[in-house]
């Protein structure tokens, strides 16, 4: 069911059209500058090549008749002699006498240095071009009146009331945070993710899930090719597998929480769970989540039933995180990603592919090691993206703790 909490933001309010145009202009200026530099280098290379040619040809004759320059405005008729003796500047005012071959070698080495400079310049220009096209599409999309729709994913068939209440309580802060993030949004990424969602929706139509199509906070400026490719490959993957992976990763995560808390006394466990949820909700408590991670690594995996007990014990005031745990353990078919949308924006990215039937960790334990790894890769793609944008350090710190956990967990089984 679609929750009424979705919000619609016109794209143009995030990226004013003329601002985007300005950005395009600026980047294009930079490109032109680099292009000039490149032309200069190319000239050097051409000069160098012609000199190599000349140097290797000079010794073919004993002497060459030339006009010998005498100052800048005068010449003497004369000839080149000793055509296999060259004096080459090594730098810093030091000269060396070389033969034609040795001189040609020196010049070739210089040419290589120039080539590498050209290469780096080319890469630079390519980056700038990508940036320019990004700004351009942003501008045109803003001009077209594209809107951004953002709503939280709610799972209807499991403890809906609980969920909703927890949701409303928690839903606010992430929303705010996301608004901040949206500024750096990458529309291309958004489109990709939207496509992903679409595919999954088709598949899950039978299940009648509702979905949250979230636009993700993504790297601001340069969209790296690598990321793009990674994401594309993700889309290519069959959706079911993909979402399963997500679930694997996530449910593994959850189980870890549970098992970890299982080993502790009830009160302590409650406390810890609160802490973890907080850490995950709160972008600035990375140290806390680190602590959790340490705990988790120490924990052993417990059979599912116990986890159920534990979760049932937990009081309602516990955070939504806990609710998710409950869900995951009690109902094998539960959709876990719902939790992510509410609590943490970053998780939302990774978990967004709405689940079809998610298997519980217990049932999956046989096959997951490889898949778990894929799952973590999927997470990492978002992770990398967030890391790319220097402006999103908090989400970065948040997503980091969650990734290692899931991977670790899966590999262990």
């Amino acid at each position: 069911m679609v929750s009424p909490r979705g919000e619609v933001t016109p794209f143009a309010s995030l990226f004013p059209v003329d601002e985007a145009h300005k950005a395009v202009k600026r980047v294009e200026e930079k490109i032109a500058e680099k292009q000039k530099e490149m032309d200069h280098l190319k000239e050097f290379i051409a000069d160098n090549n012609s000199i190599i040619n000349l140097v290797s040809k000079l010794p073919e004759e004993l002497h060459h008749d030339i006009m010998v320059p005498f100052g800048k405005a005068a010449f003497f008729p004369g000839r080149l002699i000793h055509t296999n003796e060259f004096v080459v500047l090594l730098g810093e005012g030091y000269y060396a006498e070389r033969t034609s071959k040795q001189t040609a070698d020196i010049l070739k080495r210089r040419g290589k240095a120039l080539d590498s400079q050209v290469e780096s310049l080319k890469a630079n220009i390519k980056d700038l071009k990508a940036e320019a096209s990004f700004f351009d599409t942003t501008a045109s999309e803003a001009a077209e009146g594209l809107v951004e729709i953002r709503e939280d994913y709610v799972d209807e068939d499991l403890g809906e009331e609980h969920f909703e209440s927890a949701f409303q309580g928690k839903g606010e802060s992430p929303g705010l945070n996301e608004k901040k993030h949206m500024v750096e949004e990458d529309d291309e990424y958004t489109r990709l993710m939207a496509r992903l969602d679409e595919l999954e929706r088709e598949e899950l139509a039978a299940e009648n899930d509702d979905e949250s199509i979230e636009d993700d906070p993504v790297a601001n400026g340069a969209l790296e090719d690598g990321n793009e490719q990674k994401e594309q490959s993700n889309t290519i993957e069959s959706d079911t597998v993909n979402s399963e992976h997500f679930q694997n990763a996530i449910s593994g995560d959850l189980l870890l929480y549970q098992t970890h808390s299982m080993q502790r006394k009830p009160q302590e466990q409650e406390k810890i769970e609160d802490v973890t949820a907080e850490a995950l909700c709160n972008k600035y408590q990375s140290d806390l989540s680190l602590k959790d991670e340490q705990n988790r690594t120490g924990s052993t995996i417990q059979p599912l039933p116990k986890a159920e007990n534990l979760s049932s014990k937990s009081s309602t005031h516990e955070t939504k995180r806990h609710l998710h745990n409950e869900k995951a353990s009690v109902l094998p078919e539960g959709k876990i990603e719902a939790m992510s949308s509410a609590t943490q924006p970053v998780h939302m990215q990774s978990a967004r592919p709405p689940s079809n039937s998610s298997k519980t960790e217990a049932s999956q334990s046989g096959f997951d090691s490889s898949k778990a790894f894929t799952g973590s890769i999927v997470e990492r793609s978002t992770d990398v993206l967030t890391a790319k944008s220097a402006t999103l350090p908090p989400s970065d710190s948040q997503s980091k703790p969650s990734r290692p956990v899931s991977r670790f967990k899966m590999q262990r089984r």
Binding site: D47, I51, L58, G71, K72, F76, G78, V88, L89, L107
Partner: protein, 151 residues
């Protein structure tokens, strides 16, 4: 009234920034080029005088091929010298002819430098003048109403 003066001031400033200053920069650049020419010919004259003094008839020198690679070159006869007379033409001179030409050339270059210096001075004067005008425009109305001096 105030508004018109503001507009005038802005116009003057625009004129200075977009016309006079680029002109000045260009003129200075041109003059530097002529200075370079002058240096070339002074060097050439000194070199030829050197050759004359030492009565050098043959010369061995290093020729720059580019990229700081040098090759030895031999000049069997230094009596004849080809001097650039402009527009890519080189004329074959003897030493005395060359010195003659160089002195003529130096004269012309000196005249050019003088011209450019005058031009630069006049542009600088114009800039000063416009600035003075702007100052007057700004100061006179400011003095008339003394109590309203807020800016």
């Amino acid at each position: 009234m105030e508004k018109r003066q503001q507009e005038k001031i802005q116009k003057f400033e625009e004129f200075v920034d977009s016309r006079l200053k680029p002109d000045l920069v260009r003129a200075i650049g041109e003059r530097d080029k002529v200075f370079e020419q002058q240096k070339i010919f002074v060097d050439l004259r000194r070199n030829i005088e050197n050759l004359e003094k030492n009565s050098v008839t043959s010369l061995r020198t290093l020729v720059n091929l580019g990229s700081e690679v040098y090759v030895q070159a031999d000049v069997p006869d230094t009596q004849r010298i080809f001097v650039d007379v402009g527009l890519g033409f080189h004329v074959e001179f003897t030493w005395s002819e060359a010195l003659n030409f160089i002195s003529l050339r130096e004269e012309k270059i000196a005249r050019q430098i003088e011209e450019y210096t005058l031009q630069i001075a006049s542009i600088k004067t114009q800039i000063k003048l416009v600035y003075e005008g702007i100052r007057e425009l700004m100061e006179l109305p400011a003095e008339k109403p003394p109590p309203q001096r807020i800016f």
